[in-house]
């Protein structure tokens, strides 16, 4: 039994109350255990082109890349990460190249860009790759924790001690990202691997959610509604809109089933002993 078949996905996306277009793109793929979200920006209404391109490159390329993982590289980065994680990093770089190529060919797409955050469940691990300020959160034992660090000017200011984290909501820099796809030939991709526990819930979201809804309320919605993942996704979007809905808002949820492959094996052993 693979972890993929134990992960349930649900998602919701909405233009919000203020904007006219939805430039967010999302996707899930149960076959390879993928959840991915891109928040497009810039260009003449081409933000949606950039985010949709990023998602399609990730979906197509990752299936191939995970099917034939390249032989272990010998540099330090390769030694620290699973081949799956490194494949996700390469696919993200490919998406960047593709966006740049399309932008060069179409004047209407000039200046378009997108954030990209993706996670892949693999056995008892989750691999995360991200560029920009679209976040991945984890709810574990009813506590919400942010697993990605925003590539935003605001987070840089807080980290440098220029702004207290409590004052961050007074800042006018929340929408300034320091990294994005479609910006430069080389893109710096953050990768991370974490253990997955049965009962974990993962939330991938665009800043339209976490700018409008406080973490405490996101945590509350996930804790209370984890039994009904599609409802939880819709309620999160609704909360962002109820609070003003200033931006596009997208959420992708994944729940790891309580019955893990490992536990299943142990239980069958005990079952055999009890006989």
């Amino acid at each position: 039994m693979t972890v993929q078949s134990r992960v349930e996905f649900a998602s919701a996306t909405d233009t919000g109350v203020v904007r006219k277009f939805n430039e967010d793109s999302i996707a899930t793929d149960s076959e390879i255990g993928l959840m991915v979200l891109a928040d497009g920006m810039g260009g003449y209404m081409a933000g949606d082109v950039a985010s949709a391109l990023a998602i399609s490159v990730v979906k197509e390329e990752l299936v191939t890349a995970l099917g034939k993982l390249e032989p272990e590289e010998t540099n330090d980065t390769a030694k620290r990460y699973l081949p799956q994680t490194l494949a996700m990093k390469r696919v993200t770089e490919k998406a960047n190249q593709m966006i740049l190529r399309v932008a060069r060919k179409n004047s209407q797409c000039q200046g378009m860009g997108t954030t990209l955050t993706l996670a892949v469940f693999y056995e008892d691990r989750i691999s995360i790759a991200h560029v920009g300020d679209s976040r991945l959160y984890r709810l574990r034992y009813d506590r919400l924790e942010q697993l990605t660090m925003d590539h935003s000017l605001l987070r840089g200011q807080v980290a440098a001690g220029l702004i207290d984290s409590g004052d961050a909501k007074l800042s006018h820099n929340r929408n300034l990202v320091t990294r994005a796809l479609g910006k430069e030939e080389m893109v710096e991709v953050d990768v991370r691997e974490e253990d997955v526990l049965p009962g974990d819930i993962y939330l991938l979201c665009s800043d339209g959610l976490n700018d409008m809804v406080e973490d405490a309320d996101i945590e509350l919605a996930l804790c209370e509604l984890k039994a009904n993942l599609p409802l939880a996704a819709n309620v999160l979007v609704q909360m962002a809109n109820d609070n003003g809905g200033h931006d596009n808002v997208s959420v992708v949820l994944a729940r790891v089933q309580a019955q893990s492959a490992r536990r299943g094996l142990l239980e069958s052993l005990f079952g055999w002993l009890r006989r």
Partner: protein, 229 residues
Amino acid sequence: MAKLVVILNGAMAGNHFIDKGRITIGRRAGNDIHLDDPGVSKEHAVIQTVGNDHIFEDLGSTNGSTLNGSRIAKHILQNGDVIDMGAYQLKYANIKANPEMDYDRTMMIHAVDRKIGAVPLSAGRDASHASVSTARSSLRASFPLGEVRGIKGEFAGQTIELERPLKTFGTAGGQVAVIMRRPPGYFITHVEGNKAARVNGQAIGSEPHTLQEGDVIEVGQEKLEFFLK
């Protein structure tokens, strides 16, 4: 462009545009904004530009700086802020930093040397932003608080205020419904279980159901009555 209006004894005494990364304020003549008053320190404060923000910082002045009567050490300036220093007042005017205005679209910036400082924007789109907290609190305050009183079950005899955006009731794995607090009122929605909860004896179905004063809710082992305060 953002500007600072210098006010002395209630009258405008000057205008300074924030056109560089660091603006110094003090009694010494070499300051960008020179305030000649004994209550102002020689090097009183600075205003630093970071992205769209202008951050006011008191440099440990003798008599301090106050914003709306409270002493401040460091503050992200908001449109209309008035800061008192000695006999002078500085009024910050920046329509882009207006809490009543819309959020801007996400933009990429060049973090050239990754140092925190004045950061040029890559796109010339106008920025305008809102303070989330003000928008949110006004929405929350605009409709009455609801509560449920337990008639039967775990909460019998108790009153539970529905202050948070949502709360579930019922038996996990059995029958659960959620009561959501959202403008303009309260709604109950089915969460899990083969059968939906009942309101006044009627099953609520799969769509959100508006709660009215005096409605009786039956979910799992619970029987609850809904009220507005």
